[in-house]
């Protein structure tokens, strides 16, 4: 963590975004002596111990950040107990033998084991199938408060599973790993798009939309981390301050709208897609990286950052409303038969 004091407000159950802490290790400079907050239930340290997450403190975290900035993201080891007494060479060996992030398929490790439903708050308007690739609790909550019944599905779900729900829209969540490895999810998304079902993706979901449309993805030298990242929404011309946590990005042209590259080539089974025109809708202003995609001829869009925030600013919450609008004007749900794509822009 670059912020020097960590754990000041302790740990509470209300703000949990997932069923467990997913980081492999936690590096801080000054851990809190004890938490101070009327909502705290226990200390962060206790929670890390409880969950078996290794932590280290007292480091020059700024020096570490600069190291990563100049040399790019890399594998790392934090050792405790008897391991920590091993020689540096042996420790380095262990780090180097860990798998690289490029080519890592991790969604399967973090996804939910079985489908669960987050009921709509108030009047139910739509049903959404949300593929859990590492979803945060806040996302279904946002949808639910807008009258959506959210079915959170395991990453291995099929289009038939989605159809069985009669979903009005499909959502792909954020999640870890290299999007290039997510073959199953991309194939699933192509079916969704082909069916003209409204689609919204966040983060990993954005990368998958990119790949489904035929764009490439690549590993950033400097991943985007933090909750102060400026993004230009080209539709409104406004800048939003966003929370981001991604090491991969979509490689799509920003200058003008393009036809989805996937339309130009037949897939392995010889089927031609008709996704139509695609626009880069959001741009990261720090380094001009693609932060969002919007299909102009089919009802699909995605962003690379986290409109659900938690943690982070709430500037982009309106994207959930945009998803609702998309479902409102769409005549398609997975309950109906697929037909040709319709201009929904």
């Amino acid at each position: 963590m670059t912020a020097p004091h960590i754990g000041n407000t302790g740990f509470n159950e209300e703000d949990n975004e997932s069923r467990r802490i997913w980081v492999a290790g936690y590096v801080v400079r000054d851990p809190a002596i004890r938490p101070s907050s009327w909502r705290s239930q226990r200390s962060l340290e206790d929670e890390l111990i409880e969950q078996g997450v290794v932590g280290i403190s007292g480091l020059d975290t700024r020096a570490l950040t600069r190291h990563l900035r100049e040399r790019g993201a890399m594998r790392v080891g934090v050792f405790s107990g008897p391991l920590a007494t091993m020689s540096q060479e042996a420790l380095l060996e262990r780090v180097l033998s860990a798998p690289r992030m490029s080519g890592a398929a991790l969604a399967g490790e973090v996804t939910t084991a079985r489908t669960y439903v987050v009921p709509a708050v108030g009047q139910k308007r739509f049903t959404v199938a949300a593929l859990d690739l590492g979803i945060k609790a806040r996302t279904p909550e946002h949808l639910a408060t807008r009258g959506i019944e959210v079915h959170v599905l395991p990453a291995t779900s099929t289009f038939a599973d989605i159809q069985a729900l009669g979903a009005d829209g499909v959502f792909f969540s954020n999640g870890p790993g290299d999007p290039a490895t997510a073959e199953h999810e991309i194939a699933l998304l192509r079916e969704v798009l082909a069916a003209g079902v409204p689609f919204f993706g966040i983060c990993f979901g954005n990368q998958l939309l990119g790949r489904a449309l035929g764009f490439g993805t690549y590993k950033l030298k400097y991943g985007h981390r933090g909750l102060n990242q400026p993004v230009l929404d080209r539709r409104t011309g406004k800048v939003e301050v966003t929370a981001q946590n991604h090491g991969f990005a979509v490689d799509a042209p920003m200058e003008s709208d393009v036809s989805a590259p996937a339309d130009a080539v037949a897939d392995s089974s010889g089927i031609h897609t008709a996704y139509g025109r695609v626009r880069v809708s959001h741009i990261g202003l720090n380094d001009n990286v693609v932060e969002g995609l919007e299909c102009l001829d089919i009802p699909a869009f995605s962003v690379q950052y986290h409109p659900e925030a938690a943690a982070g600013p709430h500037d982009s919450e309106h994207l959930f409303d945009r998803f609702i609008e998309l479902m409102s004007v769409s005549t398609h749900s997975t309950a109906s038969t697929p037909s040709t794509a319709k201009d929904s822009a």
Binding site: R29, V241, D287
Partner: protein, 1105 residues
């Protein structure tokens, strides 16, 4: 969207003199604004009555008006300059109020120059408490339950509903003036009474008390495309109840979860939109209930504020600079982040360090004032420190205050017992200056964090950190020797070598020696707005004990400039002015300049000012480490100690002893001027006279000296600035009492006893000496007679009553002193002329408080020239280069020269006694002013009148004048009073004074003295008439110490009613001239640039200028 093309000229309104609640942060913001606008090719017209500012230097605007900030004057400027727009959001409350007044008089409309930044509607929505309440409600927020009242009866009715305690807040006042807690009806009547008066709209807000809640501030910026970013969050360590300017504050906020912080952020953004601040910055304050998180919006400032300056320095995000860009049409994403140079400004800075700001108070200057901290701001300055954790930042900030007892301490054998700790904590229940040290001592004495939290309301997280500091101290104290581990632990929690010395029992130098031998030295990190996400191009550093340093090597020789630390009375913006100019001049001349300072309000701590900035305390240890780091980085030409006032000057000897080269006047020469005995020898050799004097180490010795040289005597401790502890003493008893107190103030230095010269004219001189030649910057004649501190005295340049022969003697004497002392650079001399004898009162081989005034009065960049001389340039060279005029100097102004008057601005109104009365406004040898204004015109009367208009209400044009003078002044009063009567004023006087006037044919009605009480038919006393607003000006010269009660009440009443008060005969004469000139003429305004053209000092042609 690029910048607006319809704006080619902008009038920028400054903030006027430095007062409590409105200090040099607005020079910082205004200077940035002027720079930005000029870079954009916009013609900048500036009005500001404060000559000590950087922004009023002629090079920062196209037309600089050092004129009073009043609607009439601004109208005259607008009429003359016809700007396209007016920018008032960067000049504090003064500028905002002026903008509203201009709007209400239809002046903006008439001349077609609208406000940019915030509209009048937005200003009113943000500032009017009732309207603002509606704003907050529409944004879904809560405000404290409250009611607006316009009369005392309405106030009492509200109190019945809300109960006590109640918060009283007058509308539209600055720095929370007049606000506070009313615990009962007596309090309420008193506070609401003066609040109703202070409020320009005669209204006060009464609200439920939320004392003890957590307090937060967010700095928000918006552009015209409606992009909004939060630049910084600030958390107050002192909970609600203490004005944020008087609180210890921390950035970023440390005890909120993301959910709560984002809740505040959402509200802040909604509010700035609803208020409709079109472009620019504003700050919004919140209170959070620590037990359930209930949020109350306290207030917002629809302008750049003191907190904006702090936030800018804390984050590296220059709010004022960007606000200026947004005002002329840019959007946040079009503005580049200066520090990374590749990313846009449309982001939110993230901090990988902790910033702590601590206030600096001056209660010692106002012994009668109640030191309790309330919602009215009372501090006169602040220090900021940066560390990699809170403990480090806090301890650095406390030592940056440069005040005995401001830091945590662990003197051996003095640990408080449990009982003592309880007593300390009990004391800490009432917030006062230094409360944090009381809490630290109470924890040291064994009390728990819970107990401390219960007593003070300070969040347990902060108290835990203080406890941690105590634990580290205990560890250091119990360590048998200073190992690298022990030292590093202490250093990581901000312990100074001095504190380690206390704990280990070793002298500080030994601690430092051991530490250096063990290689335990700080590294320097960078303030980069982005927690190292992007490379920083701006070397803005702070020290910490961590692993990696970021100081880059450099090639040009570096000059290290030591700044002046937190503002205080006697050492303020004037010294920063000189430091900044030195940096500019030397940067242009082949040097890398390295600024060291810890005052977040200043231009010197702008990362743009110097080649490198170290935001560090100005202690020997911290400065030595910077010097070490810079020597590792490249060649160091030397350190400048002459410009930052007494703070750096006090380090000169020790730095030299450590082998650090001091440029300019040598430490030995400084000693010659500061040491009484040595200085006497200099005077004797030069054949100059000083008032008879002696030195004493005890009360008895002092009495002996005083009897020999004769009373009255002026006594003071040696080595002081701002007349700290200076008094005029008439008898033995007072003298003994004084010495007892003063020697406590400065244990290692004796007391100086001088014969006090009655009825002398005091003369101030600023000069530069290069070893061969002297450039006389200017000769100032004081308006008050000697005995009033020069910082509090009005003065005039060129002198209006001194003859050629006297001026020559001043010049010769100054030159002899410069030679005798061995000055290289600046020197300030104070002379007193009595019965034809020119006495030398003191000579200071450093930049003085008057440098900026003299520079502006004569149009010569004295501080720049001085910095060059310190680095080896000669006056002859500087004349050739055109930095100094080719011939002549400020000591021989041509006959047609305009007249400049400097007037001091005093903070009496801010301070109340425990009983709620304002403190006495008598001037004396101890300096108490916080700032100054300048009036420039073609003659003395007009310049003086402008100087009075530069703060406060100015001199009266008609109405009633009250006069009551001491016997010795009765003769001198007659002529001026006659003139006032002839000018049509009604005079009222106490009986004795009225009698004298009547015998001289001047009618004055007799008014009852305060001590007589109201008459049998209810005839009011003078105090009642003043309070009723019936008196336009008060003339009251103090008589002997026994008849003081009446005088005090009169002066206190006058001060609280904001009427001019004249306490010396000399001031009376000046006031009469001012009034006459005011009545005779309409407003005349002229820019500094025009004055300089007319003076033609540089004999330049138009196109060279």
């Amino acid at each position: 969207m690029p910048r607006r093309t319809d704006i080619t000229s902008v009038l920028v309104i400054g903030s006027g003199p430095i007062v409590i609640g409105q200090a040099c942060e607005f020079d910082y913001s205004g200077t940035q604004a002027c720079r930005v606008l000029r870079e954009e090719g916009i013609r900048v017209i500036l009005v500001n009555s404060n000559p000590a500012t950087i922004m009023t230097d002629p090079e920062f605007a196209d037309a600089t008006y050092v004129e009073p900030i009043t609607p009439e004057v601004i109208e005259a400027i607008i009429a003359k300059e016809r700007p396209d727009a007016v920018l008032a959001t960067l000049g504090g409350q003064t500028a905002l109020n002026a903008a509203v007044a201009l709007h209400e008089r239809g002046i903006l409309e008439k001349y077609g120059c609208p406000l940019i930044g915030a509209s009048v509607e937005a200003i009113q929505l943000g500032e009017d408490r009732q309207l603002f309440k509606g704003v907050v409600q529409r944004c879904g927020g809560e405000t404290a339950r409250s009611y607006v009242a316009h009369t005392i009866d309405e106030c009492l009715a509200v109190a019945t509903e809300l109960g006590y305690p109640l918060v009283v807040r007058p509308s539209f006042t600055m720095g929370g003036l007049g606000s506070g807690f009313a615990d009962d009806e007596v309090d309420l009547r008193r506070m609401a009474g003066s609040g109703l008066h202070d409020s320009p709209t005669t209204e006060v807000l009464l609200e439920e008390s939320i004392t003890g809640w957590k307090e937060y501030e967010l700095e928000v910026m918006r552009d015209h495309a409606d992009n909004v970013v939060v630049v910084c969050s600030i958390e107050n360590l002192d909970p609600m109840g203490v004005h944020t300017g008087d609180s210890v504050t921390v950035a970023p906020a440390l005890t909120l979860t993301d959910r709560e912080y984002q809740g505040l952020r959402d509200l802040a953004i909604a509010i700035i939109r609803e208020v409709g601040v079109d472009t620019g910055g504003c700050n919004i304050q919140f209170a959070v209930n620590p037990s359930d998180g209930r949020v109350i919006v306290i207030e917002m400032n629809p302008r750049v504020s003191r907190s904006s300056a702090l936030a800018s320095k804390a984050t590296g995000f220059p709010i004022a600079k960007i606000a200026a860009k947004l005002a002329i049409g840019y959007t946040l994403d079009e503005v580049r982040n200066d520090i990374t140079q590749v990313t846009p400004a449309s982001f939110e800075p993230t901090l990988d360090y902790i910033v702590v700001k601590v206030p600096r108070f001056a209660f010692e200057k106002f012994p009668a004032a109640d030191p309790t901290l309330t919602t009215t701001m009372k501090s006169v300055g602040e220090a900021m420190a940066i560390g990699r954790n809170f403990t480090e930042a806090l301890q650095k900030a406390l030592r940056s205050l440069e005040r005995q007892g401001s830091s945590f301490h662990w003197h051996r054998g003095e640990a408080p017992s449990k009982e003592q700790a309880r007593a300390l904590l009990n004391q800490a229940r009432t917030p006062t200056d230094g409360r944090i040290v009381l809490v630290q001592q109470a924890l040291r004495g064994g009390l728990s964090v819970e107990e401390a939290h219960e007593a003070t309301g300070i969040d347990p997280w902060f108290l835990d950190q203080m406890q941690l500091i105590n634990q580290v101290a205990a560890h250091v104290a119990s360590s048998p020797q200073l190992t690298p581990e022990v030292l590093l632990l202490a250093k990581r929690h901000g312990f100074s070598d001095a504190q380690i010395s206390q704990l280990s029992g070793m002298p500080e130098e030994v601690v430092r020696g051991v530490r250096h031998a063990l290689g335990v030295r700080p590294v320097y990190k960078t303030v980069d707005t982005c927690a190292a996400e992007f490379a920083a191009k701006t070397p803005y550093h702070y020290s910490t004990y961590d692993e990696e340093t970021e100081v880059e090597p450099r090639e040009r020789p570096a000059v290290i400039i030591l700044g002046s630390g937190p503002n205080r009375i006697g050492q303020g913006i004037e010294f920063d002015y000189s430091c900044v100019h030195a940096s500019f001049a030397l940067r242009d001349h082949g040097f890398d300049t390295v600024m060291v300072n810890c005052n977040p309000e200043t231009v010197s701590t702008d990362y743009d000012t110097s080649s490198r900035l170290y935001f560090e305390p100005l202690t020997l240890e911290d400065v030595l480490e910077v010097v070490h780091a810079e020597r590792q980085a490249g060649p160091v030409a030397g350190v400048i100690v002459q410009l930052g006032g007494q703070t750096p000057l006090g380090l000169a000897q020790a730095l030299k002893a450590e082998g650090v080269p001091i440029v300019g006047t040598s430490p030995e020469s400084i000693h010659l001027a500061e040491d009484r005995g040595a200085f006497s020898r200099v005077l004797a050799e030069a054949g100059l006279t000083a008032p008879r004097h002696g030195t004493a180490y005890s009360g008895e010795e002092a009495v002996e000296v005083a009897r020999e040289i004769g009373y009255p005597v002026l006594v003071r401790p040696s080595y002081v600035l701002g007349g700290r502890g200076m008094e005029i003493v008439y008898d033995d008893e007072t003298l003994i009492g004084y010495v007892t107190r003063a020697t406590e103030a400065a244990p290692q230095h004796p007391v100086l006893v001088d014969r006090f010269l009655d009825e002398a004219i005091e003369i101030d001189v600023d000069a530069i000496y290069d070893g061969h030649e002297m450039y006389l910057g200017g000769i100032m004649e004081h308006i008050e007679e000697a005995g009033i501190h020069s910082g509090d005295s009005a003065c005039v340049l060129p002198p209006v009553t001194l003859g050629q022969e006297e001026l020559e003697r001043v010049r010769e004497s100054t030159l002899k002193l410069a030679k005798g002392i061995g000055v290289r650079g600046l020197m300030n001399v104070q002379f007193a002329l009595a019965q034809g004898v020119l006495y030398v009162l003191e000579a200071n081989p450093r930049a003085s408080r008057t440098i900026p005034f003299v520079a502006k009065a004569t149009g010569v960049p004295l501080a720049k020239a001085a910095a060059r001389v310190m680095l080896g340039a000669t006056i002859a060279e500087l004349r050739t280069e055109g930095i100094l005029p080719p011939a002549g100097d400020g000591g021989a102004m041509p006959a047609h020269a305009h007249v400049s008057v400097k007037e001091a601005v005093l903070p009496f109104k801010r301070f109340r006694t425990r009983e709620g009365e304002v403190v006495d406004s008598l001037l004396g040898p101890e300096m108490r002013s916080t700032g100054e204004v300048m009036g420039i015109d073609s003659d003395f009367g007009a310049a003086f009148a402008k100087s009075q208009l530069g703060f406060g209400p100015g001199l009266p044009r008609k109405g009633t004048i009250f006069v009551s003078v001491a016997n010795r002044d009765k003769r001198a009063m007659i002529f001026p009073m006659k003139r006032l009567a002839d000018l049509g004023f009604d005079l009222i006087a106490t009986k004795g004074t009225a009698d004298v006037l009547r015998r001289n044919g001047i009618h004055a009605s007799v008014v009852r003295k305060y001590s007589e009480g109201p008459g049998p038919k209810g005839e009011p006393t003078i105090v009642e008439r003043i309070v009723a607003g019936e008196v336009g000006m008060v003339i009251n010269t103090p008589s002997g110490s026994h008849a003081r009660a009446d005088g005090y009440e009169i002066r206190a009443a006058t001060t609280s009613m904001d009427r001019p008060i004249i306490t010396t005969v000399q001031q009376l004469g000046a006031a009469v001239q001012g009034i006459e000139s005011q009545l005779a003429e309409t407003v005349r305004v002229k820019s500094l640039q025009d004055h300089a053209r007319e003076l033609n000092f540089y004999a330049r042609t138009e196109d060279q200028a």
